[in-house]
Amino acid sequence: MAKNADLLPGTLDMLILKAISLEQLHGYGVLLRIKQISGGALDIPQGSLYPALYRLEHQGLIASEWGQSENNRRAKYYTLTALGRRRLREETAGWNRLAIAMAAALNAAPEET
């Protein structure tokens, strides 16, 4: 198993939004999806997933409804709201700026200073 990266604070919300933006998912599905899109590099503590989902729903970024899962269980499916979509866009842009800036800063060679 590849070495897992620790989650930075605040990134869990972003990952959940991203996962749900790809398709409607139930809680366990979100977990699997994040694992999958991060190539297994990001490991989310299972216990912290649900409070995050409830918080996002409370903030109106995602919506939930009950449905049937693939193996015929009752499951709660989450979808992204318009507000959530906008938030995801903003966060992604913000993250990218930060990542580029961080990479540039960390790659700086002595003569460039």
Partner: protein, 889 residues
């Protein structure tokens, strides 16, 4: 934000679904993970163990989810409420005392506030309420402050004052309605065609009055109030076009008013057009307002009161230019006042209501201080527990919210009780004549008041909890744990605060007592004023003779004669007379009289005087005193001679050093030909005309009934039996003479006097009641604080007793403490009473705002109460045995 509140609200209202769904979701997660693990080759037991471990504590996760949804706060609130309720149940003495105090104090405030809200605050119940104004003529230098508006005023102002988009004239009177034998006198209103549009009121049925219906021969139409329509027409939907009888004349119903319509405090059930003859609309009638004709107007949107006033002033100035009476009116200080209708209508009652609200707020203050003290004492008893809990990690927020929740639960429960007390209070106020106040019958006890009650109770809870929370927080942690257990005097600050509260309480109760004393003394002084006649054993009642049935003076005088002789024949009657208006009837207007040969002094103007028409033995029946000459008798009415009787005030004003007998005067504001002059044949004692507290001696003239054009008629009977017992007999006698004539307003003069004092009596009684409660609360407060002081110092006292202190010394120590509190409170109270006295000066009658005997009396009452309250605690202190000092340690 809104979304979050909605989400929280959904989670709260469907709490069970929320919990169930959350449990299901989390369990299903764990199951799926377990299945996946099994599928990847892990043994089922191992899979179950690992999935549960990786997920973490289910309870913790659930709690975090709830918190994410904003539910934790509410869970905590519910928990704390339960805890607080349990605590309150555990100390029933405290809880009951607190609830009773709150119920009484909040109830008193809500009662008064309900009146203030209905009378002063709520807009009048008309669509156009905002821009309604009233106008009246005033002649201050003639002694006539208000003279309504004349018909001429109305026709001259209609459509000519740009600031108004509607102007209307109205007048209240009574009419005899119904068929012979079942007639009733109904209060009615005469209104000009624009009256209802001015108010913005639409009829429920039919149409309003038209311009064509304002002449004497075309005014046979009527608009019914909803109540009259229901009670007398059986709510007939086809009532339009039907006929009813007004003073014997058939009139056609053309409209019905919407339910609940009521113009100010009027009880009018029927509305008729305000009709007039052309000569009543001429400039010479411009100043014949006579307080019964009133004018209202509606301000055009955007127009202001001052614009309207300026335009009215300008119009008056223009019109007076070619008015022969202008000089005289200007000398009398003539002006037309434009005032907001609502404010003007309630102006007389406003200071009384504000005073009562101030009184009840003071009561609430005293009650609140009591509660604060009780709670501080209680909190001190729990200081150790609090300190311990804080030491064990309870957060400060937690401690504060616990105190807040407990207090707010208490005050909200008190608020609910107070609401019930207030509802009872409103009924109680009706006994005090609240429904006779302007707009008094509109007093409502509704959702708005309930909202005020709970809001107020909640706020009070927060305020009450503040000092307790502060002391709980100032967290003398270890300090409290040690010192309170020693029973020492640990928190000096808390003690100072408690004593300060008692001082404030004594001061406030003192102020209330003084206020009640001033009002009570005013009432007593007003009651001891002689009305000028002998009111005992006098029964009065009103009849109105319709012009349709009694078209001329001879028929009216024949009726009078018959009535007088029939009544005089009754056993139990000693004298009987008739008059067009009795003193203190509540509707005593003035009119001008001019004395022949009287030269106006510089600055002096024409004067208004009360004038009456009398028949029969009115003066002896009412019990007037005779100063000079003779009374008028029934004979004078018959003979039609132009004579009159004046009262002593009138005689003193015009003929200060001469006899009034044989002098001449004229009705109206001008001296005309000698054959119109009235000769004075007698001078009678002055009587109080509008109320016992009136101070201005305006003078009165009495004419023979036949020579006064007035269709009102009061029967005045002096009896040898209790006057009320004659009421039915009188009514039956009138019906025997004319079955169409009802007699109304049958009351003894004593009852009329009592009624005229209602403006003095009710505030005096209510503030008296408030101060009695205040005294009781202060006694409870002083007692509570002193007995707590004793219980705190049991150990110390025991030791001193052991060392040889005498019980008397111990008792003296606590009496001295009570005395100190009393002196400080009274000193503050004297200042407050001085301020309060000045503020209520306008409500006092012959009592100075600072009255030494009242101050002394209040101080004595406070002293008595304080000492009574500290008797038991100090006695208890003196009986502490030396042994207790030892065991207490």
């Amino acid at each position: 934000m809104l979304g979050r509140i909605r989400s929280l609200f959904r989670a709260l209202t469907t709490r069970n679904d929320f919990e169930q769904g959350m449990g299901e979701e989390l369990r299903s997660h764990i199951e799926q993970y377990t299945d996946d693990l099994i599928r990847s080759g892990v043994s089922p037991e191992e899979a179950a163990r690992r999935s549960r471990m990786e997920f973490g504590g289910l309870n913790t996760v659930q709690e975090e989810c709830r918190q994410a949804r904003g539910l934790r706060f509410f869970d905590e609130l519910v928990r704390q409420s339960r805890y607080a309720a349990r605590l309150l149940r555990k100390s029933p003495g405290f809880t009951i005392t607190a609830l009773l105090t709150l119920a009484i104090c909040l109830g008193a405030n809500l009662t008064i506030f309900a009146v203030i809200d209905s009378v002063l605050l709520r807009p009048l119940p008309f669509p156009n309420a905002g821009g309604l104004v009233t106008m009246f003529n005033t002649y201050p230098r003639a002694g006539v402050e208000r003279d309504g508006s004349s018909i001429t005023n109305y026709y001259e102002r209609r459509g000519r004052i740009p600031a108004f988009d509607a102007v209307a004239l109205y007048r209240f009177e009574t009419a005899i309605v119904g068929e012979a034998g079942s007639t009733e006198r109904e209060p009615v209103a005469l209104v000009s065609p624009e009256f209802f549009p001015t108010l913005g009121v639409n009829l429920k049925m039919g149409r309003g009055f038209t311009e064509a219906e304002t002449s004497l021969h075309t005014d046979t139409v009527a608009i019914l109030s909803d109540r009259y329509w229901r009670e007398h027409c059986g709510a007939d939907p086809q009532v339009i076009g039907k006929q009813i009888r007004r003073d014997g004349v058939a009139v056609t119903v053309i409209g019905v008013l919407p339910p609940g319509f009521r113009f100010l405090s009027s009880r009018a059930t029927l509305y008729f057009p305000y009709s007039s003859r052309p000569e009543q609309r001429t400039p010479s009638e411009r100043h014949s307002g006579g307080n019964s004709r009133q004018m209202i107007a509606h301000l055009r949107p955007g127009a202001t009161l001052s614009q309207a006033q300026a335009q009215i002033d300008a119009q008056n100035a223009t019109l007076e230019k070619d008015d022969p009476q202008a000089k005289m009116m200007a000398d009398a200080g003539f002006r037309t006042v434009v005032a907001p209708l609502h404010a003007d209508h309630v102006a007389s009652i406003r200071p009384v209501l504000l005073l009562l609200q101030a009184g009840s707020l003071t009561l609430l203050f005293i009650g609140a201080v009591n509660l604060m003290n009780l709670m501080l004492i209680r909190a001190n008893g729990r200081a150790k527990e609090m300190a311990l809990r804080q030491a064990l990690g309870a957060s400060r927020g937690h401690v504060v919210s616990e105190v807040m929740v407990e207090t707010i639960i208490l005050t909200l429960a008190g608020g609910a009780l107070g609401l019930a007390a207030g509802a009872a209070g409103i009924r109680f106020l009706a006994v005090f004549g609240a429904d006779q106040l302007p707009l008094g019958s509109e007093i409502a006890f509704d959702g708005r008041l309930a909202a005020v009650a709970f809001l107020g109770a909640g706020l009070l809870g927060i305020v009450l909890a503040l000092p307790v929370a502060w002391f709980a927080l100032r967290g003398h942690l270890a300090n409290a744990i040690q010192s309170e257990s020693r029973g020492g005097t640990a928190s000096r600050a808390a003690q100072t605060l408690r004593h300060g509260f008692v001082v404030a309480q004594i001061a406030l109760a003192f102020v209330l007592l003084c206020g009640a004393g001033l009002l009570g003394l005013s009432l007593e002084r007003a009651m001891s004023v002689s009305p000028g006649f002998r009111p005992d054993h006098v029964l009065t009642g009103q009849i109105s003779l319709p012009w349709s049935a009694y078209p001329n003076w001879s028929s009216r005088l024949t009726f009078n004669e018959k009535l007088l002789s029939e009544i005089a024949r009754q056993p139990g009657v000693s004298e009987v007379g008739l008059v067009n208006n009795v003193p203190l009837s509540g509707d005593n207007g003035m009119s001008a009289a001019t004395v022949k040969g009287h030269v106006l002094r510089p600055g002096e103007s024409l004067r208004g005087h009360y004038s009456y028409g009398v028949d029969g033995d009115y003066f002896t029946a009412m019990g007037f005193s005779l100063h000079e000459g003779r009374f008028l008798t029934a004979e004078d009415s018959r003979r039609g001679e132009r004579i009159c009787v004046v009262d002593e005030d009138f005689a003193r004003y015009y003929w200060p050093n001469r006899s009034a007998l044989g002098q001449h005067l004229f009705v109206g504001s001008t001296v005309t030909k000698d054959s119109d002059a009235f000769t004075v044949v007698g001078v009678v004692g002055a009587v109080k005309q509008v109320g016992l507290t009136e101070e201005v001696a305006q003078g009165a003239v009495y004419y023979p009934y036949a020579l006064r054009t007035d269709d009102r008629l009061f029967v005045v009977v002096r009896t040898v039996v209790p006057p009320e017992s004659m009421g039915l007999t009188l009514q039956k006698l009138v019906r025997q003479i004319d079955p169409r004539l009802p007699m109304s307003d049958v009351r003894s003069m004593d009852a009329r006097i009592g009624n005229s004092l209602i403006a003095q009596r009710s505030p005096a009684l209510l503030t008296g009641l408030f101060s009695a409660i205040a005294l009781l609360l202060t006694a409870i407060g002083t007692y509570g604080v002193l007995s707590y002081a004793v219980s705190l110092r049991r150990g110390e006292i025991g030791v001193r007793m052991a060392l040889g202190a005498l019980p008397g010394q111990i008792r003296g120590q606590f009496l001295a403490l009570a005395l100190r509190l009393l002196l400080a409170g009274t000193a503050l109270g004297v200042g407050g009473a001085w301020l309060a006295g000045r503020a209520m000066r306008s409500l006092l009658f012959h009592v100075p705002p600072t009255h030494l005997p009242i101050l002394a009396g209040a101080a004595a009452a406070m002293a008595l109460v304080s000492f009574a309250a500290c008797l038991l605690p100090s006695h208890r202190a003196a009986r502490i045995s030396p042994m207790e000092g030892l065991s207490h340690r």
